[in-house]
Symmetry: C2
Subunit: 396 residues, 2 copies
């Protein structure tokens, strides 16, 4: 089955498509209020979009005191695939054109198994979602990978935690397999786009989105656009030095932020604490599971374990100190904290806030919200869907 052959023919149509995506079904009149075009011109463009099939009529709207308007909406059969490849798991979701999640699968998987194995997994998950009848095919797919990406080509470059991915033509390969356009980006950037589209960062122009999972990274949004940097490695804050002569890091340096606080570091510290007898709770969990993760630390902390709380606080102080620097530098309007460690919740957040508010200048922190992400694990897949929809809803 052929899908979504059409693309908007001009900037007006692109604008309209994005309004319908972000605002849902809408009448011509309401659209007219938002785009600053004459009614005639608007009608012409809407008609053309109807012709392409990207947009369909959607019945009559309630009256606003006069003639009822004919609603239009994006084609209800459009389907986007959002893929979020993490270090230790894969998320795949299907969305409609409004980027609402219709189905979502999550599977543990080690990214180090390499692109071929991971993409096989992704394709099988996509097939499973298709089999439920949610989609007959995909009109586009967005993919996030946990490392830097040469964005225009959609190729991961020099990813430290994912050897074997360097230079792999991810976009090309997946586009072949799925038979639809594909865009590839860093997973952190997609999380930022997700929170921007449907989460806490709506209507904020400049913000930072800190993702703390196995590793740690930062999505940078400037004037509503993701900043990817000259080589696609912008936001790679995991290897900023947090502690002079600190712990050795996988990258070869010492004292990297990631080596001191991240999902992996937290698990390591927890095991250490358990073995040294500093925490009975953690020791019990370790004995039960054979290993510990950030989630266990969160559990123990929730149960009041002092050592776990200390670990979280100390980690929050480390990240907070780095974030304080970034806030001074970048002066964002919002800082979002997300990723796997969101479960550490307000203990973590409080530590981060304390550091930032203490270390950055009042002018930069005066009215600066520092909040947890709203979308949790769906931020990445929503961001991925948004990435490809932004692409497809732009003039060809």
């Amino acid at each position: 089955m052929r899908r979504m052959t059409a693309r908007p023919a001009n900037a007006h149509q692109a604008r309209l498509l994005k309004l319908l995506r972000d605002g849902g079904p809408n009448s011509r009149a309401q659209l007219g209020d938002q785009v600053d075009l004459s009614r005639s011109k608007l009608a012409v463009e809407v008609d053309r979009l109807l012709e392409t099939g990207l947009v369909v009529a959607d019945g009559l709207a309630a009256s606003r005191g006069g003639r009822r308007s004919h609603n239009v909406r994006l084609a209800p059969n459009l389907r986007f695939l959002g893929v979020d490849i993490g270090a230790t798991s894969v998320d795949v979701a299907v969305t409609n054109a409004e980027l609402e999640i219709l189905g979502h699968l999550n599977q543990p998987m080690d990214v180090r198994e390499g692109p071929v194995a991971v993409f096989e997994q992704v394709l099988s998950m996509a097939a499973k979602l298709k089999a439920t009848g949610l989609a007959e095919g995909f009109d586009g797919a967005g993919i996030g990978v946990p490392g830097p990406v040469r964005f225009p080509e959609g190729v991961p470059v020099a990813p430290p935690i994912m050897p074997g991915w360097d230079g792999f033509p991810a976009r090309e390969a997946l586009s072949q397999e799925l038979g639809c356009p594909v865009m590839v980006d860093n997973d952190v950037n997609l999380m930022a786009m997700g929170e921007q589209h449907a989460g806490v960062a709506r209507s904020v122009g400049d913000f930072l989105c800190i993702k703390i999972g196995t590793g740690i990274g930062c999505g940078i949004v400037v004037g509503g656009e993701v900043h990817r940097g000259t080589t696609g490695s912008a936001g790679d804050i995991g290897h900023i030095q947090a502690v002079p002569d600190g712990r050795p890091c996988a990258c070869g340096n010492r004292g990297c932020l990631e080596a001191h606080f991240s999902g992996a570091a937290l698990a390591r510290d927890a095991v250490e604490a358990a073995q040294q007898g500093r925490s009975a709770e953690l020791a019990t969990l370790l004995a039960a599971n054979g290993t510990l993760t950030a989630v266990d630390v969160a559990t123990a902390a929730a149960a009041g374990d002092a050592t776990s709380l200390d670990l979280i606080r100390e980690g929050g102080n480390r990240v907070g100190q780095i974030i304080a620097g970034l806030v001074s530098f970048f002066n964002p309007g919002l800082v979002v904290i997300g990723g796997g460690v969101t479960g550490l919740g307000h203990t973590l957040l409080a530590a981060i806030r304390t550091q930032v508010y203490r270390q950055s200048l009042p002018l930069a922190t005066g009215n600066l919200p520092i909040v947890l992400g709203e979308l949790g694990p769906t931020a990445g897949v929503i961001g991925a869907a948004r990435l490809i929809s932004d692409h497809l809803f732009s003039p060809a």
Copy 2:
């Protein structure tokens, strides 16, 4: 005398004006190669610009193998005033429409004397330049101040080193006095714009411009545009913590970068070294002048003084470490080092480079030039002229 009443009527004219500003006199044919308009349309727009007087005919160009073209150029009597207010001195320059400096004055002055005294000084310097016959009046002025600015209004806010300036309506006041449009910005941003226009940063989209003078700050350019942040304090890196529990800083915290390395900190450390007998050279200079400045340290270092070299290296390491973090975060295509301490030259640069190349990931540093600014003290005033010309050469 009334000056430059006209503004470009549309985006095409704005584009043409900027091409003439950046490329000098040009023929219609050459302009046509750069703007992607039909010859007829281009001719119309150029004619309209000629009518407004913003652009004038400039004789015939050399033949390129056919009929010679009629050159046009920006009106030769246009004059911009560029003002760069530093912590300890004021620069004022007059430029033509191509932003070439026609006259330049520099005067020591303490910014803490307050806006009224400083602006009086600026006006008198502007008058002096006018008196030389370089200008009959000014068509616009750009001003840089050493602190954050609420850009749209042109008002300094909460400037730590310049009490008395907070909320002072700088733009309004100067516009009144000079009788022309005025734009106000942070001095570091203007330095970045200067280097972008006429210095090392031509044709680089994303770059950082570190200015190390009395204090320390950073201009951030994203996609060719200066990023000012939500409250106008972006780039304020002087108070990022460089040394845990380090030296006390004027801001109330400890270990701020600025407290450990800046023109002021360097002078302080040099006096200390001289008094403790760690450097004969510095002691001699101290005895001779009664005080020491960054320039003295540069002099001593050039003469081979080991203590001075150590001070510079240590400072470079501190800044370099912070810059390394910013490079990881922002992934720029270029880092420019400028400001008063440029005189410390390659000793400083080498220390910075070492830190950045060692601490940042290879992907971010792989092809990253770290260079000294090309324009020295003129970067600020050129940037100021460019700021106001960007404003005036945009549709009203």
